[in-house]
């Protein structure tokens, strides 16, 4: 439908919650260029910062070509349609998203997919901290949808996760899935310390490595494989840990047995 190209390099954060297929739907290019947007403390129009071109794709489809790593809240609360970003994108991308798809050919900023309810975010790069974590103080985070990251993610990802799936093909920072109560997190490479702290439900599957699990988790069993979603499962075998017991939690952490020989001592407690 539309192609947006930043007119220059942004030095200060740009708030652009209006860049969403739902908002653009049914509007002509001139109307879209006139939508309010802020750069730092200045109130501007979308057309001041972006060159807007029309393409011949019919579906509600927005393409952004260029570096928008300073642009926040792209695709906020979107329900339908698709956004493709060829470049890095800023914080809060796809927050409160309920449907549709965001594809990023680059890196994505912190707090992306925050409070997400549905839809798909695909990142062919790295993600910042607080991926899929809710606003500070909120006790229920992402409720549904899927986030796939090809690279690594920062710390505190999947906090208060209450549903949906995070598939991380790189590594993950500390406090992965902090306080999560449901949903699935899959990490294929190394996980930093304290995954699943305070978790009360859901599962974290680590097919890569992790130095240790917290002492408030207890070993439960060894399982040959674990289901990720309706169609896929991860092959193990896995050590299964239950916790976080300090929260009377019944969450599960699956740790790949072959990649984590330092956890062999747990087997004597089985």
């Amino acid at each position: 439908m539309l192609i947006l190209i930043p007119k220059r390099k942004f030095e200060v954060p740009v708030q652009a919650a209006c860049i969403s297929p739902d908002v653009f739907k049914g509007k002509v290019t001139a109307e879209i260029a006139n939508m309010p947007i802020t750069e730092g403390n200045r109130n501007l129009k979308l057309g001041d910062l972006f060159e807007i071109q029309e393409d011949n794709l019919e579906a509600p489809y927005i393409t952004i070509n260029g570096d928008v790593s300073k642009v926040k809240r792209i695709g906020s609360a979107m329900k339908t349609g698709e956004i493709l970003v060829n470049g890095d994108v800023g914080m809060h991308t796809g927050e409160k998203m309920a449907g549709g798809k965001i594809t990023v050919n680059g890196n994505i900023g912190g707090w992306s997919g925050s409070d997400m309810k549905g839809g798909l975010i695909e990142v062919h790069g790295d993600a910042g901290d607080y991926l899929a974590s809710p606003y500070r103080g909120t006790s229920t985070g992402m409720k549904g949808g899927v986030i796939i990251v090809d690279g690594k993610v920062g710390s505190d990802s999947g906090c208060y996760l209450h549903g949906g799936i995070l598939k991380i093909k790189g590594g993950a920072g500390r406090f992965l899935g902090y306080h999560m109560s449901d949903g699935v997190i899959l990490v294929d490479k190394e996980v930093d310390v304290r995954p699943g702290a305070c978790m009360t439900g859901g599962k974290i599957v680590i097919t890569g490595t992790v130095e240790e699990v917290m002492p408030s988790f207890t070993i439960d069993s060894v399982k040959p494989k674990v289901k990720i979603d309706d169609t896929t499962s991860a092959a193990g075998p896995f050590y299964v840990f239950l916790g976080d017991l300090s929260e009377h939690g019944t969450g599960k952490i699956f740790v790949n047995k072959a990649n984590n020989p330092q956890m062999k001592f747990y087997e004597k407690y089985l």
């Binding site: 809710p134 606003y135 500070r136 103080g137 909120t138 006790s139 929260e247």
Partner: protein, 565 residues
């Protein structure tokens, strides 16, 4: 100076027994007067309802626990943001709005006087700093004295007179307005991990029972001739079966001499009217409580109505907040023990229609308000923010004046709660006159504020004008129209100045006064060496830094009272 004439409004002024009469109200220099000159600015109020400015007897809007509530709830602020306008400052907060927003929102609803009901004496300075920043409203605050060590010591010795002198001194140094008692004895016990479970349990380390604290302070209240009665949050609050404690408390207060002026005010009565022997058998005790209240005149009450929304509960009743923490699935929780004075607890809570307990709590609040026949005894409140934020008041009013509104909400409530609710059997629909009593006249009378809650000559010119035409609008049928009118006034007038017009704040130069009591006892309280020694030993604040001086208040209003001791 300024003159105003409100012409042709339907006036509801229960203190002066004016029930919807079409008349003019004249205002000069911030007071209601007999008549004004022809130069007066005229407000055409024809077809509008004119009431005295609203008075709220119990709303947590300032102080230590309110601010700690703000700190732990960034999620509450992000969902409700007020932008700055040419006239108003910006603010945030849904259940715990920031100070300026609190003032604006109250004023838009036609309120002009609000009472902050719980202030730990140790946090008096903080509380007054926040009250200073709440514009457009007259304010006062009640120091928590029910578990204050010197009160307990004096009452345990049976030394009521000494206790009275001490309370007079406390009102002065905290710049307070009334004696607030929260879970008497229970908060002191909470410091040691316990609670009291009836009004005859012994308080650890003090040879005293809650009954002695309550009746003792009620006697002190009478000796000091305080304008308000003791302001009481009962023991066992928020626990099933607690209505027995509430009844015991009311009976205990019968022993205090009653001379036409109420001897006690039980606040958020809904939370104190639970029957049943556990949450699974949770029942309403509104019938038992209301039939006692209908037969006795020695006390006043406010509702503590529950609203179905996400809110933040906060009270000095630490043990109660702990039980809420256990009940509510271990949400984030603040628990504190404030030295020798009181305790505190804060926990976010969501009242849900589909919860059998919450839905019945909603019903209990309304049952009580409707079953208590005399509106001069029972006032409207949500115990903001414990039952719900104060700007939901129009919704509470709609439930009171419209059976239809109640039926619509009840239909969406939990089925078990629907069966237990008495609401379908209650046909009462309140009139605008009764609403005016429950929201201003009754509250002002109970607070002893003779210049508030009325529009007689000499009263403060605090007026609320609503877009309700009682001749044309049937509020019970078209409850949504009236509810909208109560949400935003056509005019709010504070001290003779128009501060809100058509729901928008149009004046930012009215800070509102802070009222405090200067109680003149025959002999002042002696601060002896022993007391100073105790301050050194048990308080984190030096005695000399403890008092709040009058210059600390932005616009102080000293009310001088002659005590009989």
């Amino acid at each position: 100076m300024t003159e105003l004439l409100i012409k042709n409004g339907f006036v509801f002024d229960p203190i002066n027994k004016i029930n919807g009469e079409k008349m003019d109200i004249a205002i000069k220099d911030g007071k209601i007067v007999q008549k004004v000159s022809s130069k007066a600015h005229v407000i055409d109020a024809s077809g509008l309802t004119v009431m005295p400015g609203g008075v709220d007897i119990h709303t947590h809007i300032a102080g230590g626990e309110v601010n700690t509530g703000r700190i732990i709830r960034p999620d509450d602020h992000v969902k409700d943001v007020e932008r700055k306008t040419a006239m108003t400052r910006s603010g945030t907060g849904y259940s715990i709005p920031s100070t300026f927003t609190t003032g604006y929102r109250y004023s838009r609803m036609g309120y002009t006087t609000v009472m902050n009901p719980s202030m730990a004496p140790l946090q008096a300075k903080h509380t007054h700093e926040e009250l200073n920043d709440i514009p457009l409203l007259d304010k006062a605050t009640y120091p928590l004295l029910g578990d204050w060590w010197f009160v307990l010591e004096n009452l345990a010795k049976g030394n009521v007179e000494e206790c009275a002198k001490h309370v007079a001194w406390m009102m002065d140094i905290t710049k307070g307005y009334a004696i607030k008692i929260v879970n008497p004895g229970g908060l002191e016990s909470w410091g040691f991990g316990h609670n009291v479970h009836s009004i005859d349990d012994k308080v650890p380390n003090f040879c005293i029972t809650p009954r002695e604290i309550i009746t003792g302070l009620a006697r002190v209240n009478a000796m000091l001739n305080l304008p308000h009665s003791i302001h009481l949050h009962t023991n066992n609050l928020g626990l099933p079966g607690n209505y027995i404690t509430t009844l015991d408390t009311m009976k205990a207060l019968e022993s205090v001499p009653y001379n036409g002026k109420p001897v006690g005010h039980i606040t958020h009565l809904q939370f104190a009217s639970f029957a049943g022997d556990g949450w699974a058998h949770f029942q309403s005790a509104s019938e038992e409580i209301s039939s006692y209240i209908n037969a006795h005149n020695h006390m006043t009450f406010d509702m503590g109505q529950v609203i179905f929304t996400d809110t933040t509960t906060m009270t000095a009743d630490g043990p109660f907040e702990f039980s809420l923490y256990e009940l509510g699935g271990h949400n984030k929780w603040v628990n504190s023990d404030i030295e020798t004075e009181t305790s505190g607890g804060i926990i976010p809570f969501t009242y849900k229609k589909n919860s059998p307990v919450n839905a019945l709590q909603w019903s209990i609040g309304l049952e009580l308000a409707l079953l208590i026949k005399d509106p001069w005894k029972m006032f409207m409140s949500t115990d903001h923010p414990n039952g719900g934020p104060f700007f939901a008041y129009p919704r509470v009013l709609a439930w009171l004046y419209s059976k239809k509104a109640r039926e619509i909400t009840l239909k969406h409530c939990n089925k078990k709660a629907q069966k237990k609710s008495l609401l379908p059997s209650i046909d009462r629909e309140m009139s605008l006159y009764e609403i005016a009593i429950m929201t201003r006249a009754g509250q002002a009378k109970a607070l002893g504020l003779s210049n508030k809650g009325q529009l007689g000559v000499g009263a403060d010119a605090d007026v609320a004008i609503y877009d309700i035409n009682p001749e044309k609008l049937d509020i019970a049928r078209q409850f949504k129209v009236a509810r909208k009118a109560f949400k935003h006034t056509t005019y709010t007038i504070k001290d003779g100045t128009i501060v809100v017009k058509d729901g928008e704040v149009v004046n930012n130069k009215t800070p509102g006064r802070t009222m405090w009591l200067d109680i003149q006892t025959k002999n002042p309280c002696v601060i002896d060496e022993e007391m100073k020694r105790k301050f050194k030993q048990y308080w984190t604040i030096e005695y000399d830094n403890y008092p709040v001086f009058e210059h600390y208040l932005k616009v102080p209003q000293k009310l001088t009272i002659k005590a009989s001791v």
